[in-house]
Structure formats: structure tokens, C-alpha cells
Symmetry: C2
Subunit: 339 residues, 2 copies
């Protein structure tokens, strides 16, 4: 029997998962990434995690077809390079070569949102649909499009930045250097920012009594959902506005990408219908009826495992697509450093 | 030597072009489509046009690898079907089968904007770029994305409808049933509508003296460019507003598709920098700097020939991709009706 390994290397934690050849998650382990130690240490740790994962399941490295690793930031999957990852502090790190040296298994890297989207598209909420748009609403916003099992990349592997579409009427500064990006509103940070601004502007909210004084800075998006359920006007207004803006941005993506299904994941998706109801209404108002009629909107089903599963499955796909000559080169590049 | 035939079947005129195997246009002929005669008559005429084109160049049908036909409206290229084309009055017309019956050459159909985009991507302004977004600004607005020579289709072959993105602040009714679509502003009809509305709202324009009284309804987008050059305030305001709105809509497409180059074609593109300068400025303001740095914006170079060239080249690509079994099926379906 052959296996796959999927790695989700986040800014805070790294998860390694063992999958069977079809992408069923058999076992996973998690450790803090400790990015402050530098990329060599982080990659050493990941390699140790993979080895101990395999050892614990009594699997020889030779039984593993491929390893996939999802990294945050700008990743060049063709060159196996993390070009820039702010929250890891990585710039031009040859993650494929470095990890392959340590594992002697073919390694493939990609952006973590794309890995997540691939997992949801193939084995999660997008399963059975040909054209899957997956969007993650977390601290930031990411998205990726998978068409008939093929990832859409665009120039510089930079497609899918729905989070950095500038929304009319929005003004908040964004980490990307622009103002009013969708991410400043429909991310966890965006939702909390809106609540704080509403309170600062004199609106009163239950959240003030739940988080008195200085504690107000501890509010999370989940707290805003709780306040919504308690009928808090600020929370209701913020989640409705956020949902509407998300729906409008999704209308742009639907008109351009034409997905069959939109899979919504990430921590903010836990707001569920509080957010998705206004999003759906606005999306319906903003797209041609021919799109609306064929469109399904679903929340992610693999949740925290989507990245690990997608990483393993995308690695398998890239292994299958690679010619023997490319694989030889891939492996040779990987082994060069050890000489 | 092997040849290709490309057909651009528009609502008004149909153009048939003979190409060499690499897509160089050798000769073309044009006739009125006469859509009112019904689809059988139109397809009969197109078949006669192709035969006379080949005869005039002394080429046997057996020397033609494939015929491509671009139709307006919703086309299903896999089934060779024009599902709906309002300006031809066609619904579920099996254009591939019908034309193949008459020609005994493999025929491939697609939407005319995609054929145009493919021509510009492979042989026109997009040549040498990996990720080409082509947009046509004419009576309506169409767009298509070609990635490394592969057409992007999306669900229902409906991707690329940038013309039906609803733009904030715009209210004009659109043919699609919505309001404020980009097409209501940045098409030829949209530009003329804006000028007429400005005049109706009491603004004064040189165009009133050029087109006195009832003649005002004869204004074209080209006249608006002439008025712009004469310093007419209404024309300047309309073209600047139109350019800005186009730039904003393009920013959505850039953030999602990540093209290397945007090719702008269609009659309205003749406004050139009058439109493209404000479009470029607004696009720059609305996209992350990482996109702007790698992006080129060009006007189309094949002009009226892009559709014919693209049709021939896309037919060649689909012929090459088809398995022998598929081609057999393709041909058999095509011949079925004659029995």
C-alpha cells in the first residue's frame, strides 16, 4: 500500500498528516512552528515530524509516494520556492529542496490557501463539482479556483486575491498597502475592527459589558456571533454589513470565474447564516440570473484537515503529471545540497 | 501543406478566413449573415462561403485540418451547440453537426469573444505572454482568459462576464436584466447613453451642434472621441468616467485572474488613450502593487481579423487534443443527419 504525507505549515502551528493513496487522513500530529528559530530549524523540525509520523504508523519512507507542503505567503510551486512569507519571516526559501534532502521522498510545495482549496475541492464540500471556488475567511482572506481538478494559478501564481479587491465605500488601511480591501472587512480582524469602531463612535453594545474597559481589545469574531445571537444591534449591523460586502465581492468572482460551487471556510465561516444569509442575498442581487441558477454555496466540511489533505493530494497530482526526466531533476536538485 | 479555416459569424456579417497551419491569414471573404432567414439558411450560406474560399485558392477540402466557427451568445464547445444567441435568433442550434455535414471537415465551435481572445492571445497583442486577459468593448462587452494557450471556461462555459459586473453608483438598466453593469457604461452604447443623458440633463456639448435636433440619436462612440479632441467638456467627462469605471472593473479581474497582459479590443478601444489613460490610472489605484508591477496593458493588434484567426487556431488546438475515438464520434455525429 502507498501513502501520501500532507503538511500544513502555518505561522503558529505545523500539522503533518498521513493519508492513504486516495487522500483519506489516517493520522496527524501537530507542533508549534517556532518560526523565530529560522527556516533551517523549522524545516529540520518538519522533517523530524514526518519521520516520527511514519515511524509511529510503521511505514517505510519508500511507501510514501509524495509529500506536499502548504506554506503561507507567495509560493512558486514550479520552483519549489517560498518567495515571501511574512508570518514565517521567509524570503526565497527553497523549501522543496531542503525538505527533500532530509526525507528522500519527492516533495511539492504550494500556497496554503491553494492546498486548502484543493482539499475541499477534491474531498470536501466541493467534491462532485467541476468548478470550485474556495475562500477562507480567517485572520486574512484567501481564495483559489480549482477547475476539473486543476488548480488555477495565473501570472506569478498570484490568482485568487479576492481579499485584496477594494470595496467601494470602505476606507480602512490594509496590510497590503491599499485601503478598503475586502480583507479589512470580512476577515476576523475586519469584523472585530468594525465592532470596535462602532463602539468608539458612541454606539452601545453588549460586548462592552462582556469585555469591560481594556478587555475590549480581546473581542474575537466568535464573540461577535454570540452578541448577534443575544440580539446586539452592533453585532447584527456588523455581520450584516460584512455579509453583504462578501456577497458583492463574490459576485465579481462568480462573473469572472463562473464556479459551480463556492466553498466558504476559515474561522469566520463559523458565523454561519449570520454572515452567509446576507452574503447570499447580496450575491443574488449582484450576479446575472444564469449564474445564480447554477450556483451552490456551502461551508467547508474538512475544516482544519483541508490543508493537510489538499497538500497530500496536490503532491500526488504533481507527481503523476511530472515526466520521469522532471522527477529525476527534481530529485537531483533535492539531493545536491548533501554532496 | 495543411490549412485551417476560421469563421466569425456575427449578427450582421459573417467572415470566413483561410489560414495556413500556423495561423497566418491568407485570404478572407465577407457576406451579410442574413440571420432573419433562419439557422439552416445561414449555415448553408456559411458552407458555401467556405467552399468558394477554398475553391478560389485552389485548395481541396482534404487539405483543411479543421474549421473553427465563432458565434455570438452562449456556446457549448464540447457539444458543438449554440445554446442561445439573441442577435442570431438561435436556440440550441447544433452548429458543429450541421456545418460538418455540409463540409466533411472537422468543425469546432466556440463563443466569438473567446475566439477573438484566443486569436489575440496566440498571434496578436498577447503573443509571448503566458496569461492573457482579452476584453472587447463594442456594442456589448465580452472577455476571456487564456492561460498558457488554454482557454478558461468555467461552469457552463460562462466565465469572463466582466461586462455584467455591477458597478457601484451606476443605475442604467442592462440587457441582462440587472442594473448598472459595466456594459451599461463602457460599451459603445453606454458611452453614447451617457452623452445623451448629460445633454438631457441640461449640459451643453459640441455634439448638439454637430447633430442638431433629432440627429442627436445618430451619435456614435467615435463622435464622442472627436468631441473630446475638440475639448468638449461633456465628452471629456464621459470618457474619463468610462475609463475610470473600466479600470476599476479590470482591477477585480486582475486580482482574481492575475493576467500578465490585458488586451483591449473592440470598436470602443479606438478611443485609445482618451479612455485608456484614466483606466490605467484607476486600475493602478485599485490593485495590489505586486500585480501592477507585472502587468502590461495593450490594445488589440489583429483588429477585425482576431476572431477569424482565433477560430482557426482554437479549432486546430481542439483537433490536436481530441483522441481518435472522440474524432470518430465527432465526425459520426456530424454525418448522422445526412442518412
Amino acid at each position: 500500500m502507498k501513502f501520501l504525507v500532507g503538511i500544513d505549515a502555518g505561522g503558529t502551528n505545523t500539522v503533518c498528516g498521513l493519508l492513504d493513496g486516495r487522500g483519506n487522513l489516517l493520522h496527524k500530529i501537530q507542533e508549534p512552528t517556532e518560526a523565530h528559530l529560522g527556516y533551517e530549524q523549522v524545516i529540520d523540525k518538519i522533517a523530524r515530524m514526518v519521520k516520527s509520523l511514519l515511524a509511529s504508523e510503521q511505514i517505510a519512507p519508500g511507501q510514501v509516494l509524495a509529500v506536499g507542503i502548504g506554506n503561507p505567503g507567495l509560493v512558486d510551486p514550479d520552483r519549489g520556492l517560498v518567495r515571501f512569507a511574512g508570518n514565517l519571516g521567509w524570503r526565497d526559501v527553497e523549501v522543496v529542496k531542503l525538505l527533500q534532502n532530509r526525507l528522500n521522498i519527492p516533495v511539492f510545495a504550494d500556497n496554503d490557501v491553494r492546498m486548502y482549496a484543493f482539499g475541499e475541492a477534491i474531498r470536501g464540500a466541493g467534491r462532485g463539482y467541476d468548478h470550485v471556488l474556495a475562500i477562507t475567511l480567517g485572520t486574512g482572506i484567501g481564495a483559489a479556483m480549482v477547475n476539473q481538478g486543476q488548480m488555477y494559478y495565473g501570472s506569478g501564481f498570484m490568482a485568487g486575491e479576492i481579499g485584496h479587491i477594494r470595496m467601494d465605500g470602505e476606507q480602512a488601511p490594509c496590510a497590503c498597502g491599499m485601503y478598503g480591501c475586502l480583507e479589512t472587512v470580512a476577515s476576523a480582524t475586519g469584523i472585530v475592527r468594525q465592532v470596535r469602531e462602532a463602539i468608539a463612535n458612541g454606539k452601545s453594545s453588549l460586548l462592552q459589558s462582556w469585555f469591560p474597559g481594556e478587555n475590549l481589545c480581546k473581542i474575537t469574531a466568535a464573540d461577535v456571533s454570540k452578541a448577534y445571537d443575544a440580539g446586539d444591534a452592533v453585532a447584527v449591523e456588523v455581520l450584516q454589513h460584512t455579509g453583504k460586502l462578501l456577497g458583492k465581492a463574490l459576485s465579481y468572482a462568480v462573473s469572472l470565474f463562473s464556479p459551480d460551487v463556492i466553498v466558504i471556510g476559515g474561522g469566520v465561516a463559523r458565523a454561519g447564516e449570520r454572515l452567509l444569509h446576507p452574503a447570499r442575498e447580496e450575491l443574488k442581487r449582484f450576479v446575472y440570473k444564469g449564474y445564480w441558477a447554477r450556483l451552490t454555496i456551502r461551508t467547508a466540511t474538512l475544516l482544519d484537515d483541508a490543508g493537510v489533505i489538499g497538500s497530500g493530494l496536490l503532491a500526488r497530482q504533481r507527481l503523476e503529471e511530472a515526466s520521469p526526466a522532471q522527477l529525476h531533476q527534481h530529485h537531483r536538485n533535492g539531493n545536491r545540497e548533501e554532496k
